[in-house]
Symmetry: C2
Subunit: 192 residues, 2 copies
């Protein structure tokens, strides 16, 4: 138990180190030597926890994506309307992106990069099923446009990555008023 606990801690330290390095210079900056040093571990030790660098990055992606979607679907009321639940999810995602900047920034870097295996990326997509299901319900109730989940995602969720990047580069501040406007834009794009 203590052993297992220690192992988990070391694995987490490695993933966290990778996250930090990738964020601050891309995948090319996250060499195994640097990851090891940042996690206070020998390079060789990494290979007790991961098959390869690719495997490590893939697992990091899935871990982060999981915690993102966990945060997104938290505190949903089962008796709420589709519109209310969507709004809740949307602001949950915003909260994640505002408070877990490293994780969010990493995910957005993964999304447009050959950094992650296509297979792993697909698996990450499945974490979003609750949202897709909600959209199906919304379409059935006639309150959401008859659009594919890709379109719905592209116009309501994906823009958040852009806004977050702009805020991180100090080009744009995401205060409450701006976020309220942003949510309205998102909803307007898909509501009937």
């Amino acid at each position: 138990m203590a052993l297992l606990q220690k192992s988990i801690e070391k694995r987490d330290a490695l993933l966290k180190a990778t996250l930090c390095l990738v964020n601050n210079g891309g995948i090319q900056e996250a060499s195994m030597a640097k990851v090891a040093k940042l996690a206070n571990v020998s390079p060789a030790t990494i290979y007790l926890y991961f098959d390869s660098k690719q495997d490590m990055v893939n697992q990091l992606y899935l871990d982060v994506k999981q915690s993102f979607t966990d945060a997104a679907f938290k505190n949903l009321l089962t008796d709420s309307s589709v519109k209310e639940n969507f709004e809740k999810i949307w602001f949950n995602m915003v909260d994640f992106k505002l408070h877990q900047k490293e994780e969010a920034s990493f995910l957005s870097q993964c999304d447009n990069t050959p950094m992650i295996d296509e297979q792993t990326r697909q698996k990450g997509l499945t974490f979003l099923t609750p949202l897709f299901d909600l959209w199906i319900k919304g379409k059935q109730q006639g309150i959401i446009k008859e659009l594919s989940p890709y379109l719905l995602y592209a116009f309501t969720i994906y823009p958040l990555a852009f806004l977050m990047n702009m805020e991180n580069r100090k080009l744009c501040e995401l205060g409450d008023a701006v976020l309220k406007d942003a949510y309205q834009a998102a909803w307007d794009s898909i509501k009937i």
Copy 2:
């Protein structure tokens, strides 16, 4: 003249090779040796045209961004309404992303990656001024919401990158009907 021409051709060959390699494996796959080989040139020759790898990638970014915005602002009618011009620009961008997939995919990879200098990225942003000016006009006329250009961009243009990526991964097909729906979503998100 013939000399200058030849130089330009070689520069273009190098940029094209870089574009191709970055697209098919990220910046880490585009080593100077591979770029040189793909452009039929000695590694050393690259340094007659660029100061460094970073300089080469930066210049590639600006070149591609320029040709993207050139395409976006082509065939605009000066006596058209704001709405008409916005629609024209939007579909121009779609055309670019559908027909110049390599260039478009490269740009989307650059946007969320530390691959490009912040300074260079800023310069690329200025190419979009015509669009920003159009939005200002639209706001003055009361047909576009009073939102910052970042918000407007996030909800109307940025989603295209996502849709393009999905199409390239064969997860989504961007036919005329889908694009019409997408444009409507974009416009609905910012129109008053």
